[in-house]
């Protein structure tokens, strides 16, 4: 039978190697959670898939009307609808992962307080559903390209990079929010307001180039600026973000993930006692 070292449970005792192995062994659970979330979403709402398509379409329509038609902002020569829709695909990926990751512990409180499994599986399992939404949205974008007779450029090849950048940033931030939310429930009310603010502080409804020069330093502190501009460039061939801003954005994303995982792991021992 097994002659491996026993599992030791003691205050503050961590065995990173063992935990990594356990997380890997629990990969089926990740799949099951993702499967559950997708099934439930599409089963409970008759509009399931339609909603995923409709939501960014409506949002893009509103932005197009307000910023394009009313305010006559520049969309760098592209149809305004395409211009905002491209950015919204990225924005929705970011906010979708952030919101779901943030709520994953409180939303599964009954599991966390009743059974052990590698806790990191919960936030990780929100990824597949977010990716499905992203792909549906990309399909929609492809249809829009055809409708507007716009051809994608070679920049499209960089799409996975922007996707990863946005997902990593959202995941890291989400992990911190999830850990905080266990202790402080008002985080769940603050978060939607904060994301809404960040949406307007990011070049989704407008081009970053429209931001007045004197605000640039401050504006580019938002790491999402480069990521969203980059995604739009890759989808639509608009103006590319500068290398410097992309490097900054990537660094922030990496730090966010590392910091998020550390916070999450530090807090996870106490989740069941507080939740």
């Amino acid at each position: 039978m097994t002659s491996v070292a026993p599992l030791r449970l003691a205050p503050g005792h961590r065995n990173v190697g063992r935990e990594l192995a356990e997380t890997w062994q629990a990969r089926d659970l990740l799949y099951t959670f993702a499967d559950r979330d997708l099934r439930l979403r599409y089963r409970q709402t008759a509009l399931g898939v339609v909603w995923v398509v409709l939501q960014p379409l409506i949002a893009a329509g509103i932005f197009t009307f307000v910023f394009g038609t009313v305010a006559h902002m520049s969309s760098e020569g592209k149809p305004y609808m395409l211009f905002t829709f491209a950015a919204l695909t990225g924005w929705n990926l970011f906010s979708g992962i952030l919101t779901r990751t943030a709520g994953c512990l409180v939303g599964n409180a009954h599991l966390v307080s009743r059974i052990f499994f590698p806790r990191l599986i919960l936030p990780l399992s929100v990824m597949p559903a977010a990716m499905v939404d992203f792909i549906v949205s990309l399909g929609m974008f492809a249809a829009l390209l055809m409708i507007y007779h716009v051809a994608p450029t070679l920049a499209l090849l960089t799409l996975p990079f922007w996707m990863l950048l946005l997902a990593a940033g959202a995941f890291g931030t989400g992990l911190v929010a999830a850990s905080l939310m266990v202790q402080y429930r008002d985080v769940q009310f603050v978060l939607p307001v904060a994301t809404q603010l960040v949406l307007y502080a990011s070049p989704v409804a407008y081009a970053a180039s429209r931001v007045p020069e004197k605000w640039h330093t401050l504006y580019f502190l938002n790491p999402l600026v480069a990521a969203i501009e980059g995604l739009r460039w890759s989808l639509l061939g608009t103006e590319a973000p500068s290398i410097g801003s992309v490097a900054y954005s990537s660094a922030v994303a990496i730090v966010a993930v590392i910091f998020g995982v550390i916070v999450f792991r530090r807090m996870e021992r106490g989740f069941a006692d507080v939740i």
Binding site: M1, L9, T32, R36, H110, L180, R185, V187, G270, D273
Partner: protein
Amino acid sequence: MSFDNAATAPAIAVRGVGKRYYIGHRARPTTLAERVAQAIKHPFAREEREVLWALKNCSFNVARGDLVGIIGRNGAGKSTLLKLLARITEPTEGEILMYGRVGALLEVGTGFHAELTGRENVYLNGTILGMRRKEITARFDEIVAFAEVERFLDTPVKHYSSGMYVRLAFAVAAHLEPEILIVDEVLAVGDSEFQRKCLGKMEEVAHAGRTVLFVSHNMQAVSTLTKRTLVLDRGACVFDGSTADGIAHYREMQAAHADTAAAYGAPPGTKGNHVAAARAITSDAGGTHRWGKPIRFEFDLEIPDVASTLSFSFQVVDADERSVSHLWCFDRDARFRRDAGRYRLAFDVPVFRAAKGSYTIRTFLSDRRTFTEFESLAQLCPFTVTMEGIERQDYNWEAGESAYLEDHSWTLAQEGSSDAPQHGGFHG
């Protein structure tokens, strides 16, 4: 490892384990806004909190293949010990060593989702319990056959009867193959035949050389299943030895507490939907009830989280842990399903028929639709029923001669006689 020393090889070693909780932190902020406000107002103030050791200095060893029972009153630390062994929470002091894969069954159907079908829930629950999808697929037919739900596999479990639900949930868990199995009071649910099946399964597991820790209020189950028992009381392990002695020790503890604990009050700091207080209002003082008199059971329910099918029920349980009566409030329009708050729920029984003996109460607070059990308490409000004032010729009333007494009349006629038949009977 050879077979010989497998019998004495350790499975679990618990050394001086304790678990501390902080309770009654009235001053403790639950929102970030409060936390920040507090930090600004009282930057150097330290949180005032009361310490509760749910478990203290607990030590024991379990050898591989052992089947050990754990008993104790509510709040004795059983659940805390299980949570530590199951890795749901971390000990505050001491250490636990576990040799082998651990499977914990702290409730039936953890993670079951009402909207998903039976089939989907088998996979969901199975993987949560630590099985691989491949393993589940391989054992799927076995699981379904054990649960006897073949025809309803593709029906959402919200349409299941609670019996079907429990059977399916236990079936998944029973097919888990951990080297150490930790089971909490899951047998309180389900009909008696299913309970037998579950007990059989656990015995099988133990015979296969795996280790089982079994927590229960059901002394019958503990004594048939285990040879060794731990008794916990107020966070301490007060007895470790043979099951027969353990149960005797537990009964003594019960008796010693019976006088003082006729009413139940929830421990401070209890969170979520729970029974805050329970009382059995008997005909006489001191928890004594004269047979046939009206009795009242009162429960103070603290309901912070409203659930649309919140249900409360309780059993009157005799000294052998058998339920003699079940009373419920499952009303669709019950206000505690709509509004959060504190409620007093009183049950009046005009003629209480339970026979002479001692009884306790077991409560169930749950949500039917989502199959969430908020709380289940046992051994509440001990009281005794006496036959005082009711005469019976020649034979004294004995506790345990029956569960309850029926009104009855008898007619005695002599064959071949023209005399009028005699009449008599019993009317409570």
